[in-house]
């Protein structure tokens, strides 16, 4: 199953308060103002609520690592929705 990119993008826009965000696979935290540790948690909480899924602590931490991007997040959401 593919992650619903449009819905995830909407969550991004709500959390970071920026209607111009266009979600792409290679987007990283450095590309989105406010996507720091706390912004990341707010995003995770909003995604959990929206898709009724749960992220484990290790998964949340892994998503913050240097080589991770929005594509990794989308893939993880898709796996959880399967």
């Amino acid at each position: 199953m593919k992650a619903p990119t449009d819905e995830v993008q909407e969550v991004f826009r709500n959390v970071f308060g920026d209607e111009t965000i266009v979600l792409t696979d290679d987007m990283t935290a450095a590309d989105v103002p406010g996507w720091d540790s706390l912004g990341h948690l707010n995003l995770i909480i909003a995604l959990e609520k929206r898709f009724k899924i749960k992220f484990a602590t290790a998964e949340i931490a892994k998503l913050k690592e240097d080589n991770q991007n929005a594509g990794t997040l989308l893939a993880l959401i898709a796996r959880k929705l399967r």
Partner: protein
């Protein structure tokens, strides 16, 4: 056996060569396992020490097995409370002296490495509860806990990341250049610890001796007193940095010679522009651990139950998480002060950022962050604040008070 000692370096060179020549994975695991347990044995003084260590780590493995099979929140909470209580009691935290009779503190158990075992226990327990651990075995777990390259002072590695290297243990440095680079890094680590950190420490100690003596302070000119106070203020953090980053150079490079990939622990901490950034650059694996296993669950719980208050309570989460991290560093009152300052530093950073976003918006914050003058000022301020936090445990609080009293009374 000290990591910076000659025995450790000789063992590293000899056993890493044997490791490289080992014919199969089983042999390599047995060799590294022998190094792990042999190293730990040099730190455990007697049978009661071994029994306490076996009980402490064994309980962690038992709890992880149970939590994988029965992922109940109550079971996890029960285990974590038991674990933390036993840790606080065994480490004989200073505040216990206010609660317990003096006889209780007469029996001391050697607890070298236990603080890091605690972190790894909590990580494994939480991840086991959340079904994030696939291959849990006693053999893997014991080697993870007693890993010679992380036992004494980290870096803090996740069980899953350790297993990635451990279960396919093989030389990862196969070209002469990369092996030489690893040897060079070990050598740089030795120089940092023995030479640079050594010089910083002796400077600190000699200035401390002068400033602790009221008569000696009175004989110094006002300018020299300020210079000495500055030398004391900066030399101790420099000692801590070179000593710890040198140690990390040695263990990370050493681990790579045994096919293990350990996480980096430092990323130019002197360039941090605030305390939140500092903890992503200094002792990074500890900063990330605190973020993942204290800050994240605390903030998530608040945001889930009181979503409207989450934003304004975030600074409180920073304070609590890093206050606890400060306390973990040691069992005396110095570390309570260290924890308080760190907690205040991080909470203050978040409050300031929130204030700026409210006042100027995200775009305004971006402009503020791009201002080069503010950038340099923030780095200098952070660096000095970090030195102040470390001043808390450079000596005991009584001696710090004495030094400040001597300098102030001589100045007036």
């Amino acid at each position: 056996m000290n990591v910076c000692g000659i025995e450790w370096v000789v063992c590293l060179l000899v056993f890493s060569a044997l490791f490289f020549l080992s014919p199969c994975i089983r042999f390599r695991q047995i060799l590294l396992s022998g190094c792990n347990f042999g190293f730990v044995a040099t730190w455990v003084p007697n049978l009661s020490g071994w029994m306490a260590l076996a009980l402490f780590t064994g309980a962690g493995f038992g709890a992880a097995v149970l939590l994988r099979r029965y992922p109940r929140k109550s079971l996890l909470a029960f285990y974590l409370i038991l674990l933390l209580a036993s840790f606080v009691i065994i480490k004989q935290y200073a505040f216990l002296k206010l609660l317990l009779p003096a006889e209780f503190f007469q029996r001391v158990i050697a607890t070298v490495g236990w603080s890091y075992i605690l972190f790894r226990q909590i990580q494994v327990a939480v991840d086991a509860y959340q079904s994030q651990i696939e291959n849990l075995s006693l053999w893997n777990y014991l080697n993870f806990q007693f890993n010679v390259f992380g036992f004494i002072a980290g870096p803090i590695q996740r069980y899953q990341d350790f297993c990635k290297s451990w279960t396919e243990l093989a030389p990862i440095l196969t070209e002469a250049e990369s092996i030489l680079r690893a040897y060079l890094r070990v050598f740089v680590g030795v120089i940092k610890i023995t030479l640079v950190a050594g010089v910083c420490l002796s400077l600190f100690q000699s200035v401390l001796r002068i400033l602790s003596d009221p008569a000696a302070v009175r004989h110094e000119s006002h300018g020299r007193q300020i210079l000495q106070l500055a030398a004391m203020f900066y030399s101790y953090p420099l000692y801590v940095y070179f000593n710890f980053s040198g140690y990390c150079d040695m263990v990370i490079a050493g681990a790579s010679l045994f096919g293990l990939k350990m996480p980096e622990n430092f990323d130019r901490p002197g360039l941090s522009r605030n305390m939140i950034e500092f903890w992503t650059r200094w002792h990074r694996t500890l900063g990330f651990w605190i973020r993942d296993y204290i800050f994240t669950p605390m903030y998530k719980a608040i945001a889930t139950h009181w979503p409207k208050k989450a934003g304004s309570l975030a600074f409180l989460c920073y304070f609590v998480a890093f206050f606890l991290a400060g306390l973990w560093h040691g069992s005396t009152w110095n570390f309570v002060a260290y924890g308080l300052l760190n907690g205040l530093g991080l909470a203050g950073t978040k409050l300031w950022e929130t204030h700026l976003v409210k006042k100027r918006g995200r775009a305004g914050l971006r402009l503020y962050l791009q201002n080069p003058v503010i950038h340099v000022a923030a780095i200098v301020l952070t660096l000095n604040f970090v030195c102040l936090t470390m001043f808390c445990f450079a000596t005991d609080l009584g001696q710090t008070y004495l030094v400040m009293k001597n300098v102030l009374s001589a100045a007036t």
